[in-house]
Subunit: 210 residues, 2 copies
DNA sequence: TGAAAGCCCGCATGCTCATGTGGCTGAGCA
DNA sequence: TGCTCAGCCACATGAGCATGCGGGCTTTCA
């Protein structure tokens, strides 16, 4: 039996959800809250449920902030967001904080029930519009993987630079002379079109060269 | 009328898809290919379609590699992946390359048709299992946002460091004395537990401090 | 009302860096 | 055969760096 908690300030909607979920075999809604604070209080001394249906856009503590707390105290508990918002920032924050599903409140109770089952079965239910948002953010944040024609050895040295080592340390690490490291740095600077190690490291990390 | 191209090496499946999509109002499957190479050749001289249904796991050029080419030549064309694979690496690469949907071949033709409509309407259809994969990757790659208690001014200077500026330039940029910048750098080094600008920049970029 | 913390400035010292110049080897290509 | 290019080494010099010390002024909060 999978236990579910609901956090939702709209009393009528909350009760409807509860009733519908309890009518399902294998699902049991054991607790419900009208604020995130109360949920956190309950988490402090009771066992966490398998899944939490969480309204973001609650009065008081933002549901978004709540996700982090939940994930800290009960990392295994699945969190399915229930919201009227569909904007990038909200979605982004929820996803980063570790939500496992993202539903719109306009969804039917059938859809919500199905989503709960999906999430429990290892899926991440979300509308395709929200999925698009997530994918867009992904491509935006993914490293660019530019190519400056660095050789393997050059990349190796660049990588060591990004760990904060100084020339001498790099030389020792690779059993080379500092002069040799010097030579590589020049070439790296030339290829990356920078003239300081800081610039090189910044470029390497920003563009995923290492 | 939305135009669709299909890239799929299994001839029978390709024809079925084509027939089903053409039976839909508003959709028209104008071309079909049994390899990625042929698709790219067609893209070179013909107008790109609105959407491409792409099989990854084709003989010859990988469909995955094909995505990048398609996105280069026709950035606006939506790409919906059709695959038997569900492993992290494939999904990750497809998502990074800019796919707008990710379907399993076990989907019914009705589901595929619906997915095509979803994608054209601005969504990113995918199964909830795949969505979970994407979300997991997202949390894995998202900046950690560690907090070292840096002040605003310190962050500002750290940020300027990540652009490759030297002390003097930072001082000029903020109309400060180099000595003041020195003082900040000390504090930043102390807080980040590093002792070179390279280390500071690396830590800042790796942990999303800026 | 006094301590703490953020912001700002100064100087000196020794270390590290960037960059100029030069050289040697071996692999691969034309 | 001669060329380029990656990899390695060397030395010198001026600029830039980290870090030691010192000071001041304001805001915040207990």
């Amino acid at each position: 039996m999978n236990t579910i908690w609901i956090v939702e300030d709209h009393a009528a909607f909350r009760r409807t959800l509860e009733r519908v979920l309890n009518a399902e075999t294998g699902l049991q809604c054991t607790r419900d809250f009208d604020s995130c604070e109360k949920l956190l209080a309950a988490l402090a001394h009771d066992d966490a449920p398998h899944l939490i249906l969480l309204d973001v856009g609650l009065p008081g503590m933002s549901g978004l902030a709540g996700i982090r707390f939940i994930k800290e105290r009960a990392p295994k508990t699945l969190i399915v967001i229930l919201t009227v918002f569909e904007d990038d920032d909200k979605v982004f924050q929820a996803v980063c904080a570790g939500a496992s599903g993202y539903l719109l409140k306009t969804s039917s109770v059938t859809e919500i029930t199905q989503a709960v089952r999906d999430a429990l079965a290892g899926g991440s239910p979300m509308t395709s519009r929200i999925a698009r948002r997530v994918l867009d953010m992904f491509t935006k944040f993914a490293p660019k993987h530019s190519d400056y024609g660095l050789s393997e050895r050059e990349k190796e040295i660049l990588q060591l630079m990004t760990t904060g080592l100084i020339k001498k340390e790099i030389a020792d690490r690779l059993t080379l002379s500092v002069h040799t490291v010097d030579t590589y740095l020049r070439r790296i600077y030339e290829k990356l079109e920078v003239n300081t190690r800081t610039g090189a490291v910044a470029k390497a990390l920003k563009e995923g060269l290492v």
